[in-house]
Homo-oligomer: 322 residues x 2
DNA sequence: ATGAAAGCGCTAACAT
DNA sequence: ATGTTAGCGCTTTCAT
């Protein structure tokens, strides 16, 4: 592989001139530009990112930290962010953190050594202060880490409202609300939004783990004791578990009981019946997150520290209504 | 961040000695070892991977190239490989290639500049000769790129046989076989295996795109004209599309028509009914792939160039039988 | 067993 | 506008 010096020699200039040409900073005469360009083509030269990073202490890599890569929401997010970041010339590293604090810190340490240019954080296991100390451009995606750290997330309060309004428009008067642990802020917001519109709606609330199977078992039990006109599952994975439980009870959807999910992952259109859901606009989240990181790298001002993306209702067959 | 020279100074030795200590090559006295160890602890020193890579022309990163990160099979595979690779001290970069030849070549070029230590290739858009020229340890995952390139994949011929045998055991006499394009070797193998057991079974074959919706439309049309006792969908995504089509026709599964899928992705246990499927053992594929790459890095002999992993039947509710 | 020195490929003052 | 020089943090001969 040719180096910058090979190019310089071939073009009859010094390597600094080539470097300036490459980085488009400093002056380079038109003449030099031409010969350098030709030399690069001739030698099929590509700058070595490693050497570049070592010299500048900045790489062209950004990383996305997620708790579980097999969770479809995160994969869809990863895809969007990867594509966007690629447009800006960055390579995205996807890091699956799992639930171990230690692994996350270790991985971040490694990323720092690689002079990672920026971080998208979709995990939440470490104290915010740890991230703040990092001194790396970063944006929290779909969760608030702290006031200071720029954030792009869905307006979950609005999402909760949308879910509630839809159910009420479907003539529902009592509903079972399946939510994640109250430690999860995003869950709290969804539920708060839901309540904020509830008016005379009767709500029973229950906490479930994220897994499909766990939710199924839980709902099965619930349905044994009591009937509901509708169920609001605050994630689509839970909605699928709920669907399975309802079907196992031989209840019809939406005739006997209506169901609305949350997230908008692809799978909700593959079930029978398809599931009405409050969809997060993942593409937009990805775009904004990347732009936000980009601005930080350019030291531009970030006008809104916390950006909210509105979710939208996707009406399918698990609810009545229009 | 402290450098190797800081450690050397603190330990009262030269940086070469520290380097030798770090890489466990060359001689280092017990005494030196102790003081270096202490210095490292004291300064919380971590070697800079970039600098290391630049000097050695080898990084600690491996990459997995997939055509579509939102395809659950690949995410599950990615998770396994990531975890395995992490055990060996590697960071895995997940690269979503999409369908563009150009992007794949560009990305590989970038990876080379980063002195990528190894490649897991789960795409198939480029001529095998391109990969062979690369001079990077690599393993083809779930597809054969060429004779020369080490491969770990499911024994799809066996998988096809398993599917066929199961259907026959379920009393099926005629079946619709939904397959991917004949350009996909893995599809060909599955189908070949299926036929190899078919005996008196009547088989109708049809080609479908991978997408759930596309398959649904196709199957819907098929079912309009004719009835089948069973359908073999050669991927789970297709199986889900098929399921939807069958249900839309108001046929019962498995009473009116039985269904078997292929891949073993999580989703098949979330549909109603759950789908019987021939499951690829992704964990094992991941483990073997990483070990195979590792061996190449150690210049160990690779006993079997092409490793086959046996798939297993997961019997669920979309088929009759035991 | 250890250190000095050169170099990996690039960037960034600084001088011209 | 361009070249010289000195690193970035590490590895690796080659002496000693």
């Amino acid at each position: 592989m040719p180096t910058i010096r090979d190019v310089a020699k071939e073009a009859g200039v010094s390597s600094s001139t080539v470097s300036r040409y490459l980085n488009k900073n400093g002056y380079v005469s038109e003449e030099a530009k031409k010969s350098i360009h030709a030399a690069i083509e001739l030698l099929r030269y590509r700058p070595n990112e490693m050497a570049r990073s070592l010299a500048t202490k900045k790489s062209q890599m950004v990383a996305l930290l997620v708790p579980d890569i097999t969770n479809p929401f995160f994969t869809e997010l990863a895809k969007e962010i990867e594509e966007q970041a690629y447009q800006y010339g960055f390579t995205m590293i996807l890091c699956n953190i799992g639930n171990e604090h230690e692994k996350e810190k270790q991985i971040i340490e490694q990323l720092q050594q690689q002079y990672i240019a920026g971080l998208f954080i979709a995990t939440k296991q470490i104290e915010a202060s740890y991230y703040e100390k990092l001194q790396i451009p970063m944006v929290a995606v779909d969760r608030v880490l702290s006031e200071k750290i720029p954030t792009v997330k869905t307006n979950h309060f609005l999402g909760g409202q949308i879910a509630c309004q839809h159910l009420m428009a479907c003539g529902v008067e009592n509903v079972l609300c399946i939510r994640a642990s109250s430690e999860e802020d995003v869950a709290n917001e969804r539920i708060a939004g839901f309540y904020s519109c509830a008016q005379t709606l009767q709500i029973e609330e229950v906490i479930s783990a994220y897994e499909v199977e766990a939710t199924k078992i839980l709902v099965l039990e619930k349905l044994q004791n009591r009937t509901y006109e509708a169920i609001f599952a605050s994630s689509d994975a839970m909605a699928i578990g709920t669907l399975k439980a309802i079907q196992q009870m031989n209840l019809r959807i939406p005739e006997d009981i209506q169901l609305i999910g949350y997230d908008g992952i692809r799978m909700t259109e593959w079930t029978t019946p398809t599931i009405t859901t409050v969809a997060q606009q993942i593409t937009q989240i990805g775009q904004r997150a990347v732009r936000c990181l980009w601005k930080q790298m350019q030291n531009e001002d970030i006008l809104e520290r916390h950006q909210l993306v509105a979710p939208i209702l996707i009406k399918r067959n698990s609810t009545k209504g229009e």
